[in-house]
């Protein structure tokens, strides 16, 4: 009877959490180091990052509107394509969506964002929507 009680107790216990995935530092420059052509096969240097948990350091593109309480933003690879009016090329930014409930303010300094990078050439009809994505991301302080 005692043994049965133990077994029930053990089966009812939650499984130990999976070890956290290792975080890699994204080589952001390599994502933009090729000339993108429509619907091309992306270089291995780029696709190897797909699905990896990464820390990506770049600059927030200051879009029009309030710079406070942002839940999403474009993270661009360098200051030149961020802050002085220039629009980034399609392979020069990651579209970042923060974890539910998280907000952040625009910062002129480099920021590090942690999340799973998705390399996915998404199109809506004739329009390319983006290439690099990070959903459920966190801004590291």
């Amino acid at each position: 009877m005692k043994r049965v009680a133990w077994m029930i107790l053990l089966l009812g216990c939650p499984k130990p959490p999976a070890p956290p995935a290792a975080v890699e530092t994204l080589a952001f420059q390599s994502l933009g180091a090729f000339e993108y052509q429509d619907k091309m096969k992306l270089p291995d240097d780029v696709t190897k990052w797909n699905g990896k948990l990464v820390n990506a350091t770049g600059f927030m593109n200051p879009v029009m509107g309030s710079p406070r309480n942002l839940t999403s933003f474009l993270l661009v690879k360098d200051r030149a394509s961020c802050c002085f009016g220039k629009r980034p090329q399609i392979n020069h930014f990651i579209e970042v969506k923060l974890k539910a409930g998280q907000k952040t303010d625009y910062s002129p300094d480099p920021v590090t964002v942690r999340g799973v990078l998705q390399v996915d050439d998404r199109w809506d009809g004739d329009w390319q929507v983006g290439l690099y994505w990070m959903d459920g991301a966190e801004v590291m302080k």
Partner: protein
């Protein structure tokens, strides 16, 4: 048959309208580049007509920078006329870009527009005008372009040197060789590197030798390449160093700063000043002008700055975009930045912004004062 043609025409026209809208959509920056590309590929009078109608309906400032740049690839008289209109509109956000686009079209009838722009207040316009006159092979403008070798801004000096070289005049090359020594640092940003890279890229092309110089390396590592580059110019131009205009000369900058003010405005141009540890007011960042503050001036300055320091620097103010003020405030060994976008300047910063113009006028004259004040109002908090 006619019906099918009409339907096709209607479909094409709605696609053009969508492409123009996407090329300028403020909330879809990722579409700008591809929408402009689609419009370029399409070309033709229908595109020009739709663009003119879009601008008439939405105004100049509805245009994105990417779209404005793309206008330079649409050869049509209506587009040329529109670009001239954009260049003349002093409130248009992207005047230098419009001027560059007009340069792309290389239309001889724009020549006077470009000649006038050599004296424009925005350095981006001056640089674009020089390039445009090169495209038109307007050698009559060479003397005025030669004057710009002594411009305050590297980009203008460099463009003048490159254009003169294209005209068969080597007198600007000392400016570029000197720029290989550029060491400009604005707090944590090494602007010197981009200057060095630009100069080196041009020089290695015309010399057919990269001098073993790498602009991104440290000063010590760059030294042997610098010697080779200087030997190269000395061969054809002995005494080249004396030909470097005063404002293009690189000076050793080993000064510690106490405060910095950076204003960048896509609409109205940039303005920079700092106060160093010795109490000098230092204007600019490529070409520095320095003036000592009296103890009274420094006291008043610090009193106004003390109010700025009370503002919470952990949050940005105003609207996002490419027009902003940044105040670099020393806290211990580092600087904290106060970021203020359009219409966002907190009231505590207003006494500072009201006090600075008089100081700038007294130390650097009316021209510097005008440069400071022309964009001040953009950041004043909206009522």
């Amino acid at each position: 048959m006619i019906l099918v043609a009409l339907l096709l025409l209607q479909e094409a026209s709605s696609k053009i309208a969508q492409e123009i809208e996407y090329a300028n959509a403020k909330d879809k920056p990722q579409f700008h580049v591809q929408a402009v590309r689609k419009l370029k590929d399409r070309g033709g009078p229908a595109v020009a007509e739709a663009i003119v109608a879009f601008v008439a309906k939405n105004g100049h400032n509805a245009l994105s920078i990417t779209f404005t740049e793309g206008l330079g690839s649409l050869k049509d008289d209506r587009i040329t006329a529109l670009l001239r209109e954009l260049v003349r509109d002093k409130d248009f956000f992207w005047r230098p870009t419009a001027l560059r686009a007009l340069a792309e079209l290389a239309d001889k009838s724009s020549r006077d527009e470009f000649r006038t722009a050599l004296g424009d207040k925005l350095w981006g316009c001056r640089a674009a005008a020089v390039l445009a006159l090169e495209r038109l092979d307007d050698r009559d403008s060479a003397p005025r372009i030669r004057d710009l070798l002594g411009d305050d801004i590297y980009d203008v000096r460099a463009q003048a040197a490159k254009t003169l070289h294209a005209f068969g005049d080597a007198s600007g090359l000392p400016v570029l060789v000197e720029a290989l020594r550029a060491n400009t640092v604005w707090f944590d940003i090494d602007y010197g590197q981009s200057t060095r890279e630009d100069a080196w890229t041009f020089l290695k092309k015309i010399a057919k030798d990269d001098f073993g110089y790498k602009p991104w390396e440290s000063a010590e590592e760059r030294a042997p390449g610098l010697v080779r580059a200087e030997a190269w110019i000395a061969k054809t131009m002995p005494g080249w160093r004396e030909k470097v205009p005063e404002k293009a000369r690189v000076r050793a900058e080993a000064v510690e700063y106490e405060f910095g003010f950076e204003r960048r405005s896509c609409q109205r141009g940039d303005f920079f000043f700092r106060v160093d540890r010795e109490g000098n007011l230092v204007l600019g960042y490529f070409t520095l002008e320095k003036a000592a503050l009296t103890p009274e001036e420094l006291r008043d300055f610090n009193a106004a700055l003390a109010k700025v320091k009370t503002i919470d620097r952990s949050v940005p103010y105003g609207q996002g975009g490419c027009d902003f003020e940044q105040y670099y405030v020393r806290t211990g060994n580092r600087f904290e930045k106060l970021w203020i976008g359009l219409q966002g300047r907190p009231a505590a910063a207003e006494p500072f912004v009201r006090m600075v113009p008089e100081l700038i006028r007294k130390k650097f004259g009316e021209r510097a004062l005008e440069e400071f004040t022309r964009s001040t109002d953009l950041f004043r908090m909206s009522e």
